[in-house]
Amino acid sequence: MTRAFRPRSLDEALALLADGELAARAIAGCTDVLASDAAAGRVPPAVVDLSRLAELRDIRTAGEEIDIGAAVTFAELRADRLVRRHLPALAEAAATIGAWQIQNRATLGGNAANASPAGDSLPVLLALGARLDLASAAGARSLAYDDFHLDYRRTALGPGELIVRLRLPVPPPGSVQRFEKVGTRSASAISKVVVAFAARRRGACIEGVRLAAGSVGPVPRRLEAAEAVLEGATPATGLAEAAAAAAAAEVRPIDDVRSTAAYRRWVLGRLVRRWVLDLTGPDALSTD
């Protein structure tokens, strides 16, 4: 039998999660945890429901940041005006995850904490340069999202520690973002490859390049080699191909029931290439 708690404050939740004997797990939308527990025949001794915590439930602007509560659902993200205006890649990812029923329950913080390499919002958080506010009974800290995923399904969260908020910088004018997902079918499909791109044009140059991909290794990751090719570059013959080759070379995809390593590597490269060609415009296309 599982004991269930529905705390009304963050402190109460953190106290429950700090109780070693209780061995409670934090839950929010439950869209993954319920299904995987049932499939594995696991019965957690206790759960702490985060969905009533006001601190985790809103979206606001704070200075130059969009500050999103960890228990905000994808349906809320998809519909939010701030998110749609400043973080269109996140809005698009939110609208693509699972089906509407899933989006109504699943949360952004849950997607990050669940740490599936195929989590669709995770490359977006990487590409948009998110920071996390974490909290436990022992105190609060801030962590760059780049440093959050350590290994397959393993994160920087300590025992009893929660993601409280996710802070994403408002992109400067002239920025572009894109989200691309390739699944077995157009909706309700786990990604074979998922990619998020962010950059801006300054004169002829591309800068602020951040690329990230999921489903191409044990953790969602930045495509640093491809970024290095593109950062500060001017559109030139072969730039898109060079970035694509760098991206394909730096990932470690696997063969599984959904796709093959070779397909994932190839398609990641093609998505990078197409994005660079679109970003750099007809000049680049004409030199291709």
């Binding site: 077995t184 079918r185 029931v257 290439r273």
Partner: protein, 715 residues
């Protein structure tokens, strides 16, 4: 009074109908979309228990069952051993448990202890045909199933051919994926009577099997199938799921609800057999198919599998064909919508496409040249026009795969029988004194629209609105009917319904003539009123003249009220993303004949459904078994993908009104046949990549493009 000579029933010319040959929304539609239709899954009875199956977890084993642990658990009311000894598939049912709740039943099933001695097994072709492979059947793992034609004559004709294409085509195992899973609710509470609420295609067929398990007289078993969530050929018998429900119910004399979960459905619900077909075909310089050598292997697991005979539909000078079953330790194949036909169609239509390309012929003209039946010629011309073939740039050679995407068009044709079974169905029409009309036949509506024409044929005959007639079906206490499969239901049921409607009309006319003192011939039924001589009566006034018991008429099957033999042609237009290999089917067109179109809306829906199922087969569906572990990997709808709404292209369903046959014919199987081949052919037409192995995944498209760029041919 002497009865005037009755003319036999005949179908009216199409244009004279008020209801038939029109669009009729299905009469049970509102119940279904509002959730009020009660399926077998929805049945809840007092004291009812939930059953869960215990299945063998390995492909082949010696299994012994110990129920003691399960019987000790709270809520568990019954447990039975279903099978001990040798098992042959993962998922073979060995025991079952019934408990007060689903959760208790699942706990109970987990508590059944199995002693398993795993035996050597073979789950794929390579393992089954390897030397020293464990025998799946007593007659070996490869069984010849027939040979036709003269191999030497074929060899000679191929040698003289202008061009020859030799290729191997393969198709994976496909699941039915019925929305409603297999099973039933067995309501047996002791004594010698029982009621079975089943998800079945054979309302009448399952009673005897249930009676045998329950050890009661078959006549005392009532079967009810009011609403049914799809069968596609997988639900003809009581099946293991139904038999176990009866065993559990018998064990504790309580109703048992046993409808399986999705994983069990994938493991035990049957499938469309996979196949591997090696073809060698020749074409003359004039574009005639000269010869075909065809060798087919059918992968039906412990079952036989199916591939329709070669050459499929096309006329070929010389043919030699052989078929063999290759058995594996996997769930048996079953009938599935046009058994064996999509497999044969995919191989043959692909080969025809390859030969047309080899000879440099227009795909449509080449097909017409090699199809003897002129019906196909007009149908192909029609779909070609509708899909945009006349203005298409790649009609006799594929596109060049330059740029980031490519558009192509492909074709295929289909065939089916669709006639009815003699004397299989009867119908009763009742006209009550209060004006109510019922049309009853025990048959089942799998979602095909039987219920709607059961009412519409009678309403048409009596000049009433469709809503004025109540259709009753899905009950073996109603007049007899056959199982629904092979598209035989329309040809079997519609004649009996028509006959009953006709009998009712004539009898009512005779009655009114006598009551009103007019000539029987002057009595007509139209627009909800009855005209008799110079009088006009409302329907209810006319019915009030009936005696208390109303009027009953019985109809039987009449051969001339059905026909058989349907034809169809389909075309698909695809857009291939040359960078990611993704294939977007943009449009599919089908022209289908079926004699008298009883309900044009239902027919178009049936055509759309066939095209969608074929698209899903072409692009997505594939049963995956781990060859090292022998386990089914795709036992859920995440890993076994079917097409979703975003995959659905523009669908153009055209009822072939040039078919002037007066009687209706079943056609549901035909429309699922050619779509997969049409899509594969369209991909080749778009970018020159010939994909010979379903499903047509992006990976295969990219491999094909890479090979083409290197100037190689992928086999």
């Amino acid at each position: 009074m002497a009865s005037p000579r009755r003319d036999g029933p005949v179908w009216k010319p199409r244009a004279e109908n008020q209801l038939l040959a029109h669009d009729l929304p299905r009469v049970d539609g509102p119940l279904k979309v509002s959730g009020r239709a009660r399926y077998s899954h929805d049945v809840r009875l007092p004291g009812m228990l939930y059953g869960r199956l215990v299945c063998c977890p390995v492909p082949c084993a010696e299994v012994a069952v110990d129920l003691a642990g399960a019987l000790k658990l709270p809520g568990v009311e019954a447990a039975v051993v279903v099978h001990e000894g040798t098992t042959r598939t993962v998922g073979q049912v060995v025991a079952a448990v019934a408990a007060r709740t689903v959760e208790e039943a699942e706990d109970g099933a987990r508590a059944v202890r199995l002693s398993i001695e795993e035996l050597p097994w073979a789950v794929d072709r390579e393992q089954a045909l390897a030397p020293q492979a464990p025998a799946v059947t007593r007659r070996g793992n490869r069984r010849e199933r027939g040979e036709d034609g003269d191999a030497e004559a074929v060899a000679r004709a191929l040698a003289e051919s202008h061009a020859v294409v030799e290729a191997t085509y393969s198709l994976p195992v496909q699941h039915h994926v019925c929305l409603e899973t297999h099973g039933c609710v067995c309501d047996y509470r002791g004594g010698d009577e029982a009621t079975i609420y089943a998800s079945t295609q054979a309302t009448f067929g399952i009673a005897r099997d249930a009676a045998r398990v329950l050890d009661i007289p078959a006549r005392n078993v009532r079967t009810i199938v009011h609403h049914m969530g799809g069968g596609f050929g997988s639900k003809f018998s009581l099946d293991i799921h139904g038999r176990v429900a009866c065993m559990l119910s018998k064990e504790c004399s309580r109703p048992v609800h046993l409808l399986v979960d999705r994983s069990t459905e994938f493991h035990t619900g049957g499938n469309r057999s996979g196949s591997r077909q090696h073809l060698r075909g020749g074409v003359s310089a004039e574009g005639e198919l000269t010869a075909l050598e065809a060798e087919a292997e059918m992968f039906g697991g412990v079952g036989g599998g199916a591939v329709a005979r070669m050459p499929y539909i096309y006329s070929v000078g010389r043919v030699h064909a052989r078929r063999a079953s290759v058995h594996t330790h996997t769930d048996s194949s079953r009938a599935m919508r046009a058994p064996g036909h999509p497999q044969a169609s995919f191989a043959m239509e692909s080969l025809v496409d390859e030969l047309a390309t080899a000879g440099g012929f227009d795909q449509v003209e080449f097909r017409k040249r090699n199809l003897a039946d002129p019906v196909y010629h007009r149908q192909l011309d029609r779909v070609a026009l509708e899909i945009g073939w006349p203005g298409h740039p790649h009609r006799s050679a594929p596109g060049d795969a330059e740029g980031i995407e490519a558009v192509g068009i492909g074709f295929g044709v289909s065939v089916w029988g669709g006639g009815g079974s003699a004397d299989a169905c009867e119908c009763e029409v009742r006209i009550e004194r209060d004006g109510g009309v019922t049309s009853s036949m025990g048959s089942q509506d799998l979602g095909t629209g039987v219920r709607t024409y059961l009412a519409a044929i009678v309403a048409e005959e009596l000049g009433l609105e469709l809503s004025a007639v109540e259709a009753r079906l899905g009950d073996n206490r109603l007049p007899k009917a056959n199982a629904s499969g092979g598209s035989v239901t329309t040809g079997s049921a519609a004649p009996a319904i028509k006959d009953a409607a006709h009998e009712a009309r004539v009898a009512f006319a005779e009655h009114l003539a006598e009551v009103l003192g007019v000539d029987t011939g002057s009595v007509t039924f139209d627009g909800g009123v009855v005209r008799a001589g110079k009088e006009t009566l409302s329907w209810s006034a006319a019915c009030e003249t009936l005696p208390d018991e109303g009027l009953r008429a019985r109809g039987v099957w009449r051969e001339h009220l059905q026909a058989s033999g349907v034809h169809g042609a389909q075309a698909a237009r695809v857009r291939v993303d040359l960078e990611t290999g993704r294939v977007r089917v943009e449009k599919m067109v089908c022209v289908q004949d079926q004699g008298l179109p009883l309900n044009r809306l239902a027919l178009r829906s049936q055509i759309n459904g066939g095209m969608i199922q074929a698209l899903s087969y072409a692009l997505l569906e594939e049963r995956l078994i781990d060859p090292d572990l022998g386990l089914l990997l795709s036992d859920n709808l995440e890993d076994y993908k079917i097409a979703g709404s975003l995959e659905i292209p523009e669908l153009v369903a055209i009822i072939d009104d040039d078919d002037e046959r007066a009687a209706p014919i079943g056609m549901a199987e035909a429309v699922v046949i050619p779509g997969a081949a049409a899509i594969a052919n369209a991909i080749h037409n778009a970018c020159g990549v010939r994909l010979r192995h379903l499903p047509l995944t992006p990976t295969k498209v990219l491999e094909g493009l890479a090979a083409r760029a290197r100037g190689e041919e992928v086999r």
